[in-house]
Amino acid sequence: MVVAVHHLAAAQDVAAIPTLITVLGYNNPGAAVAAVDGLVALGQDAVPALLEQIDGYNYGARAWAIRAVALIGDPRALPVLLETAKGDFALSVRRAAARGLGTIDWAKLPSDQAPSSQQEVLSVLIGAAQDPEWVVRYAAMAALEGLAKALAAPETQKPPILACLQQVFHHDETPAVQARAGKALETLGELADAIN
């Protein structure tokens, strides 16, 4: 089946979307990875059907669908990514959702909506920076870096991001998470200040 899914994914045909989404529910990780790749390659065309899937009851499929919409970065997925990053009980799902919040394609959102949506993302990511699981905090650092580079209102929203990154850089209990915050600060041109 994995090979068949690979072929279907490689076809990059919107007609394959429902089938690829069905595969997410088969509890076959190899096939699901291939289906996610296929759906991500189809990009925003796959988003409405994926969001519908996320509303469904199949938990395993839900996790894969979150990963797919996170990788696509379509702002229509924002509500579900925000909700998932805040409260999902599975750490791998919180991790994928947090990452997705950092790779939203903000150009696809009407420009007057960006500042308030970004404010929501910012609050959720700052919350995720306190998650008990190191990998969720790690994903939050990566996402804050992405968000900081795409801010519509940097003068008000960049300072809280930098404060959060600096806090984690100096005080997180997991060195890898500190390092991810450090890399974000470096990318934003703020690492030298943080070290001194």
Partner: protein, 277 residues
Amino acid sequence: MGQNPQQLVNAEGESLTVEQAIENLRQTADTGLRYYAAWWLGRFRVAQPEAIAGLVSALEDEGDRAPDGGYPLRRNAARALGKLGDRTVVPALIQCLECEDYYVRESAAQALESLGDPQAIPALRSLLAGGVAAAVAVPDKPHLVQPYNAVLEALGTLGATDAVDEITPFLEHEVAQVQNAATRALYQLTGQATYCDRLVERLQEPNLQLRRSAMMDLGAIGYLPAAQPIAATLAENSLKLIALQGVLDAHLRQIGFPQRGLTDEARQVLLLMDELL
């Protein structure tokens, strides 16, 4: 993060305070409560003297017995003590290496590794007595006569350089995970990269369990050249992230992070990890 144990909740969603957990551990009427309290105190790193004392006395518990004759509370107490960083408990854990319950011995060896006190080395070495010839499976049990993986790993971490000659034959033990543990220990004790390359080759094994085990060993010893092969092996992203975290943490310790900033190697590992989120 600096979690406040007072605010943490138990598995049923009820809040459990440090005082209650210690009290639950002290009482002997309800073995379930004691067992859970021992786990909780370790999970939330409650290292205050009352908790330590309660856990040490739980190492000699006779009340909680498993159907197989084992000592579930002792196992949990040993694991918890390994997380609390208090080396005064090392002699008590060394005693546990003689316990009749295999899983108590295994938990104690792992805890002794975490506590990092070389005092434990002679007792750990004695579990290797008889060498590979004696390291056979217990009939009808899913394990060998001793917890060789945990013992070998502990000897490596504790710097038991005198034990190299005893450990080397375990590279040829018939169980692949035991070979991995010996490989990992020998790298730690000799610094020779050829040992790690053996583990890196294991990442190509057709068997998923072996790939996972080699990956976690490479993460535990923090072998930087393994970062790319770990990211590329066929296994769950969650496990790859844990292994890469281990590799990165070891490198960060070496470079004096955070005071000295990041290196190109650290940036490379971070990039690999980002892709797996």
